[in-house]
């Protein structure tokens, strides 16, 4: 495992291009595009203000930089550096901006969700979509880029509009049976739309592309409901994480629950492997004795090396008592992600913040639990294989694969608190983002010394 040098970064804006060749990152008002293979700077663009959001177009030819404060979006072309485009939303303001899947239209959401403006880079045409709903996940494109589903609110009722992205024609418009819709998401096959209600009511609705209601599901009433939703890449399963600390898997044939994954703090099944991160005590006498003897500094937890130990059953995980009198209590399953081959599901129960649970979907049971020393910030699956990268805000990155797991210290002087990470398309490298720096972590390729993964610090 190799690490690149550390580059500057602001507001965690670092994205690989969809074709995997380039890496865009922002430092204040500058946009830097590098080549992934060499990390040489390819282009350098200067924006009008501090960039708050960047996004690559699907064909990796354009980059959109949104400056919400100014209500301005700037688009840069990689092929023609002199080409420029500036979209000003004026007094209407701007809160969100994204590409359409064809990479030639930009969807800008104005302040107060007054409308969505669709700007075209091909023609002068501008389209408006009125009544978009202000919610968590109100826009969803199908994976093939053909359709856009948009959550709307009219006359105090929720609607979903399905547009054809080709010409922005309305294809379907239907009322959803929700109190307060908060999210919509297409199944990866683009034929089923999952719609879920706000946390006040547990409700998932499944609509066909033609607007038919396929099924609706409600696990319980009264208490807080859905917290997170994820489709499996095979479109076979819909995982629904809720405030009761359970994940429910719905199948795509009957849309009924196949299984419930509870997240208990006490584990006793000997089939489950629990990896516990442990501080590695420095071994005196060995040759990797640090030259400047490590001082017990304040953040020495993140600085100290760590390793994984296999905990013996029964194990009890550290739990957090949720504060009952606050909104958005820290409980329930807040993070959910399927592995690219749909064989594993990684989850985090927010009142056991240090643990990542990996479930085996083929056997429908808990497979592995990783208990970290500090709360898990983010985890992402390798796009090519079942390999999970985890960061906890410390200067380490953790990798898990069915073969084992390991913790890797990010090298370099000073602390490098990894707040977020993103995988390269090929799964060969990983961008580690901290508050104002980022670096790339290169994993060995299959031909190389890949067995090192899982053996270095993995199985004890």
């Amino acid at each position: 495992m190799n690490f690149s040098e550390v580059f500057k970064l602001s507001s965690l804006l670092c994205r690989f291009s969809p074709n995997g060749k380039y890496l865009a990152s922002c430092v204040q008002y500058r946009l830097v595009v590098r080549e992934v293979s060499t990390l040489q700077i390819l282009q350098l663009y200067t924006c009008l203000d501090q960039v708050q959001h960047i996004e690559w177009s699907a064909d990796s030819l354009f980059i959109l930089c949104a400056m919400y404060k100014r209500g301005v979006v700037q688009v840069w072309s990689l092929e023609q550096p002199e080409w420029h485009c500036k979209i000003d939303e004026g007094s209407a303001g701007l809160v969100a901006s994204c590409w359409s899947p064809d990479g030639r239209h930009i969807l800008n959401t104005t302040e107060f969700h007054l409308r969505i403006t669709v700007w075209s880079l091909c023609t002068k045409s501008v389209s408006y979509i009125k009544y978009p709903k202000a919610c968590q996940q109100g826009i969803s494109f199908t994976r093939d880029g053909r359709y856009l589903a948009l959550a709307e609110r009219r006359d105090c009722r929720d609607y979903v509009s399905v547009f054809v992205c080709n010409d922005w024609q309305l294809l379907r418009h239907f009322n959803t049976d929700t109190q307060d819709l908060v999210g919509i998401e297409w199944a990866p096959n683009g034929c089923v739309l999952a719609v879920w209600d706000s946390c006040l009511e547990y409700k998932v609705l499944l609509y066909s592309l033609d607007g038919r209601l396929l099924s609706s599901y409600c696990a319980y009433e009264w208490s807080l409901g859905i917290k997170s939703v994820a489709w499996s890449p095979s479109s076979q399963f819909l995982a629904v994480g809720s405030y009761d600390g359970k994940v429910r898997l719905l199948n795509h044939v009957t849309w009924k629950v196949i299984t419930e994954f509870a997240h208990p703090a006490a584990l006793s099944d000997p089939k489950i492997v629990v990896y516990k991160e442990a501080k590695k005590s420095p071994q005196p006498g060995l040759d990797h004795l640090a030259f400047p003897p490590s001082l017990p500094v304040a953040n020495h937890l993140s600085a100290a090396e760590s390793k994984y130990e296999i905990a013996s059953m029964p194990v009890s995980l550290q739990t957090l008592k949720p504060v009952a009198d606050r909104a958005n209590p820290r409980m329930g399953v807040g993070m959910l992600a399927f592995s690219p081959d749909s064989c594993f599901l990684a989850t985090r129960n927010d009142n056991i913040p240090n643990a990542v649970w990996v479930w085996d979907i083929r056997k429908l049971r808990l497979f592995v639990v990783l208990e970290q020393l500090s709360p898990v910030r983010a985890f992402r699956w390798d796009p090519q294989q079942p390999r999970l990268a985890i960061c906890t805000g410390g200067s380490k990155v953790y990798l898990w694969s069915p073969a084992g797991c390991l913790s890797v210290q990010v090298p370099g002087e000073g602390d490098f608190p990894v707040l977020s990470l993103c995988w390269h398309l090929s799964g060969d490298s990983l961008a580690l983002l901290s508050k104002d720096h980022f670096c790339l972590c290169f994993l060995e390729t299959k031909e190389g010394v890949s067995p090192a993964l899982g053996q270095r610090d993995g199985h004890a």
Partner: protein, 615 residues
Amino acid sequence: MGDWMTVTDPGLPAESKTVSQYTSEKKMSPSSLYSQQVLCSSIPLSKNVHSFFSAFCTEENIEQSISYLDQELTTFGFPSLYEEPKSKEKKRELNIVAVLNCMNELLVLQRKNLLAQENVETQNLKLGSDMDHLQNCYAKLKEQLETSRREMIGLQERDRQLQCKNKNLHQLLKNEKDEVQKLQNIIASRATQYNHDMKRKEREYNKLKERLHQLVMNKKDKKIAMDVLNYVGRADGKRGSWRTGKTEARNEDEMYKILLNDYEYRQKQILMENADLKKVLQQMKKEMISLLSPQKKKPRERAEDSTGNVISDIEEDAGELSRESVWDLSCETVREQLTNSIRKQWRILKSHVEKLDNQVSKVHVEGFNNEDVISRQDHEQETEKLELEIQHCKEMIKTQQQLLQQQLTTACDDDTTSLLQDCYLLEEKERLKEEWSLFKEQKKNFERERRSFTEAAIRLGLERKAFEEERASWLKQQFLTMTTFDQQSSESVKLFSAFSGSSDPDNLTVPSRPRQKKPHSMSNGSPVCTSKLTQSLPASPCTSDFCQTARSCTSEHSSINVLNITPEETKPNQVGRECTNQKWSMASRPGSREGCYSGYSLTYTSSHVEKDDLP
């Protein structure tokens, strides 16, 4: 009285006397006796008894006392103390004998009385103790009664309290339920209220939004604009099309197409899954049948076995179901038949397994009785068991192979797989090398073969020439005699067939040849193969393949052998080389070594014989 008793105690007769005296005195002259008694009582206790006796009878009143006694005694039924007067005038005289008799009787009486008294006293004591005991018992019981009564009261009290509590709890529960209901109602009402308010606010908000929108839009905000250098082409290179009814219809069409495709895809998947499951079912069925068929003879032998007829049914079913057409039918039509047959087979299998279990247990019991002699039945059972086991093992190996292959095909970056792959590559390389050498050897052999073939062809040409000549002569003869020709031609055919059949004996020796093994070949040949076998299971398909190739090679060798009839080729060392080629296909079967030697020597000698014969 007590005093009296104690005083009179020493002399018992005296006491009785006093008693009698006392009573008689009372009767006779109470007044006089009273005075006496007073006197007696008045006298101090220390005075002796005599003084008291003297009080009753003194010198003066002897007569009186005698008469008194007499009277008394007669009243008690004693004979009179006086003699019978002979005359009326004559004074009665005291009869001493009578007095003495009386006294004796009195004494006897006294003794009796004493005894009786004693008895009575002991009885009294007994009764007294009984009485005490009973009293104690009574007291105890009373106490018990009291305690139990108290307990009962306590329990009753508790019962009452519990009932009270229960009632309270019921009440509480009811209250709670009411409360829950109330709260739910409250929540519901609040929710509706909230929703209502929300709606109201949302409407307001919407109005505001609308207003804002109008304001923002109407202001002709010059800022709202896109400043672009030049417009870029569409990603697909096409031009944007006008929105018409046509495009709408096309969009619909496309949407339905997508949906249809999805459904078709899903149906296909389901069909595939179904087919797979059917295949598994079929395989299972076949295996079951094959497993059960060796058993079917035995149950029939045992007359009382009921499974026999069922098995025949199964055979029919198997015959039917093994036809592919049945499997391609939709499930509905075959379902019943299928499930029935499967169920039947399952039952048989179960009964069979149970039987086997029983037999095993029986064998265990019997095993101790006749250890030396293994009955035929036991032997058969054992073989059955072993067969089953072998089947199991085979299945296991198969599944393991599949799993490993799967793992290989999934090609994950697991360290182990890459390592294994390396291993496989090495192994494969080795194998290929060996194969290569084998092929070289074969090539040589083929060349030899070819040569022999050409030689044979030449020989054949010669023979043909001879035959032609013969034929000419025969034709000549035919001219002479027409009948002889037919006979000769049939004979020639026979000759040919005999020639072609001559190679058969050689071929027959071939099957035993692959098992040949030279003792010295062990050193270089066997380790490779055994290591292959032990190292990893996935290698086994390769080895099996290899065996096959080896076998094919050997068969080719056999053909070579046939052709080695030609004299110059059959050198002993060449045969030996052949054997070295073959050696490692046998390494996997070390058990059959001895038989192979004989086979080897046999072929060897035969080749020698051929060599001798043919020149």
